[in-house]
């Protein structure tokens, strides 16, 4: 048996979400190979080779993999997949883009967003915004899987010494081209990897008020997130959205400020270890999942929180 993990990276660095996929792959069983597809991605391949539990790193270095567009990525994955029992990728906007395309090229189903591996062919995945957990068994010859990385421990980034070998690029289908990117810049940790997340909702009233959350975030080393309503209203960019159809986070501490707690929002954060809710409406559903609820006006409570945290002696 062998399984293939598709590395998530930006051509320079291996994204640590890949480490959780390596763990999931190990649970499926067999040798774990990693595919690094990109352009000038040699450094990523070196990092992948050091990951504990990786047998082999396969590198496809070509211009048409530079931005990991779905059409060339899926063609490449479909060409390699027949030698594997399973192919796994991070369930982020890249994996969600190219993996189903690869699955269809192989005439197999995809198992989306798995949170547990029960057996080599049996997986658990959330459905209905996480209000139900389905255990599904696949009859396909190769399992195409995306992994919800918050529920798997990360494999050790160091300690492995896998061999690295090039794989032939597959011709670019030439259907799509990259035009440009507008990436949010932030000095704060990445939302899905942060130990602490503080999110704001419609209650924040505007984008400027998010500055209050930024200040708390900086004191806690936290990432800042948002509800859909806050994103739709233009307070913050789309990549802040936490929820069923945004990012799924499971930090040690999640602080929801001015968020009512709709099903779709809860789907993205209810696996956080400790949840705090600050809301002026004591009936708000967010309090049903909060470990600590504070019924208060956020415009008073958040500055107070900032002040209290600033005074806190370092642990």
């Amino acid at each position: 048996m062998a399984v293939l993990v598709i590395a998530e990276h930006d051509n320079a660095e291996l994204n640590s979400a890949t480490l959780a996929v390596v763990t999931a792959a190990g649970q499926v069983g067999g040798d774990v190979d990693v595919l690094v597809a990109g352009q000038g991605c040699g450094a990523v391949a070196e990092q992948a080779a050091k990951v504990a539990g990786v047998a082999k790193v396969r590198v496809a270095d070509a211009a048409h993999y530079a931005n990991r567009l779905a059409e060339p990525m899926a063609a490449l994955i479909a060409s390699l997949a027949p030698n594997y029992d399973a192919v796994l990728a991070v369930a982020n906007t890249n994996g969600k883009n190219f993996m189903p395309r690869a699955a269809a090229l192989l005439d197999v189903s995809q198992i989306s967003d798995i949170v547990a591996v029960e057996a080599a062919d049996t997986f658990v995945r959330p459905i209905y915004a996480g209000n139900a957990m389905a255990t599904v068994q696949s009859t396909d010859k190769v399992k195409i899987i995306t992994v919800r990385t918050t529920t798997f421990a990360k494999a050790e980034a160091e300690g492995g010494s896998a061999a690295t070998e090039p794989v032939d690029a597959v011709d670019d289908p030439g259907l799509s081209s990259f035009v440009g990117e507008e990436l949010s810049k932030s000095e704060r940790p990445e939302l899905t990897a942060a130990r602490v997340v503080i999110s704001g909702g419609r209650g924040m009233q505007n984008g400027e008020n998010f500055e209050m959350l930024n200040k708390v975030a900086d004191l806690l080393g936290a990432a800042v997130g948002a509800s859909r309503a806050a994103v739709d209203a233009g307070y913050v960019p789309n990549d802040y959205q936490v929820g069923q159809t945004g990012k799924v986070v499971a930090p040690e501490l999640y602080i929801a400020v001015g968020i009512s707690g709709a099903i779709q929002h809860l789907a993205g954060m209810k696996d956080s270890k400790v949840i705090v809710a600050i809301n002026k409406d004591e009936e708000a559903p967010i309090f049903q999942v909060a470990d600590y609820g504070l019924v208060a006006d956020l415009f008073k409570a958040v500055p107070e929180l900032e002040e209290a945290l600033a005074k806190l002696p370092k642990n």
Binding site: N67, A70, E71, A74, N92, T93, K96, N97, P100, R101, A102, A103, A104, L105, D107, V108, S109, Q110, S112, D113, P126, I127, Y128, A129, G130, N131, A132, M133, A134, T135, V136, S138, T139, L175, S176, S177, F178, V179, G180, L183, V231, D232, N238, D239, T245, L253, I263, K270, V274, V276, E282, D291, Y292, G293, L294, V295, E304, L305, L309, L312
Partner: protein
Amino acid sequence: MKVLVPVKRVIDYNVKARVKPDQSGVDLNNVKMSMNPFDEIAVEEAIRLKEAGTVTEIVAVSIGVQQCQETIRNALAMGADRGILVKTDQPTEPLAVAKILKVLVEQESPEMVILGKQAIDDDCNQTGQMLAALLGWPQGTFASEVKPADGKVQVTREIDGGLQTVELAMPAIVTTDLRLNEPRYASLPNIMKAKKKPIDEKTPEELGVDIAPRLTTLKVVEPAKREAGVKVESVAELVDKLRNEAGVI
């Protein structure tokens, strides 16, 4: 150009799904059903392209039980021109849906298919990408802007780091994200008009598509419940609890 818009009938987004006691699935008896919200956005986008003069005809397609007709009627009331119902009582996986849509695309020859990015029941986020693969078309997934021009289409996509713009050859697949548009409500006169718009009925067998599932659902259970928490009276108490009880700050 002609656009095909697949619309799925799903549990209404305001309803919390309940697991059946026998763990066989989610209980949909007497539950409000609606058009998948992302598909409303897809219909809206097609209508806007029609209003802009780019699109000439919008065909709404739904695959599933007889009641999916209502979902198609909804799309017609919003402004789609005609419908196709592919009737089956079997549950369909995204791969099967994509195979059915592929045959319809071959029959209808649209230049674009606009789907939702994700059905809020199965949360799969697969069908559009699979259809693109089966047709050998490019895909613009999670779209927040769609600009067709000169036989190509530029799609701005919501990605983890922000926004990405790609240019696709036509014909192409687009899947919608939340910020693409705000779907309109159907007006009463348009609801009346929609009753006269034609809906074709077909079956997967007629289309020659094998919809046998590849996945067997062994069980469906409720997620682990969170322990009920406490209310704190002040920020000071909150900070104290977070430090000394939870140990997270």
